[in-house]
Subunit: 188 residues, 2 copies
């Protein structure tokens, strides 16, 4: 079988050492017989709006050339997955690519959302938010569209328990997810 | 031409009067010669995890049967679009459906993210967050993957300026986006 390419989605692209994390993820992929594809792999020039849109187009192209996706669903600036990663999960799913995922926050979505709203002072006593909008309570790891994307493989994302300060750089859960994906897809 | 179906993505499904908002959106769609498809259109039974996953599967099915998507990108519980909506934008995009969008918050993503982090006390003086992760500054309306999905149509989402308290129920920007989409797709 030709080598499988895994698109490595996640908010670590925003880290100051994003390229280093990308290389570390790719080295792990190699150990499992997978070719890791990192969103920063395409070298692009330009700035501002033009550069942002070029990155978007390049990432879609990288996904179209990949065989599956491993998404880092560690909550990013709120109770949920990074929206760029969520977009990519939907994109990969509609392309028919298997969607694997991990998160370094093992708490349920309902609990995270409550904690988040509470911190902002926006948790209403009736259990809704400041706009009276309900909190999803389906015993899932994140928004049901994201959780649903994972059902065909193994139901739940791989859970890590990295300390808060390490949650975007700790790759233990990533490696376990990768191992599971490689095994599931019988890469080796 | 057969009537065009528009999948109406957005966090208004979490409103207490979600069904009413869905009906209002569909009535507007009718006026523009479009058949609106609302995420709550499929009647489902069950509870908890089972129900959440059934809704996910039903929504993917509704998107597969639609001709384009109108996404409500009004920031939801954070500086960005609702993650379920982001997922659906990616899904629709990979299916090849035109992706239209509107938002009732006209501020730029960079500014919203700074305000959000500042409110949480997580905006570092160097302009990054508590994890030293950078803030996207591409002069776009949201994360570059989402903004990129809109470039093929009209570049920017339709901007409304609803008061904060009305931002999830005010349909003026939705209607303008719908009119633009109908015109673009030459529905009438």
């Amino acid at each position: 079988m030709a080598i499988q390419h895994a698109y490595l989605a996640g908010p670590e692209v925003f880290l100051p050492n994003a390229a280093e994390i990308g290389r570390a993820k790719k080295r792990l992929c190699e150990q499992y017989g997978v070719a890791g594809v990192f969103p920063l792999d395409t070298v692009l020039k330009g700035q501002g709006r033009e550069l942002g849109l070029a990155i978007s187009a390049a990432n879609e192209q990288l996904m179209r050339g990949s065989h599956f996706i491993i998404a880092n669903m560690t909550p990013f600036r709120g109770p949920s997955t990074d929206v760029g990663t969520a977009y990519e999960m939907g994109f990969a799913r509609a392309l028919g690519l298997p969607v694997f995922a991990y998160t370094n926050d093992p708490t349920r979505f309902e609990q995270r959302t409550q904690q988040f709203l509470s911190r902002l002072g926006e948790l209403d006593p009736d259990g809704t938010d400041a706009h009276h909008m309900s909190i999803e309570a389906f015993e899932l790891s994140d928004n049901l569209m994201l959780a649903g994307a994972l059902t065909e493989q193994d139901y739940e994302p791989t859970h890590g328990q990295a300390e808060l300060v390490h949650r975007f750089v700790d790759l233990h859960a990533f490696e376990r997810c990768l191992a599971r994906a490689a095994n599931h897809l019988q890469v080796k």
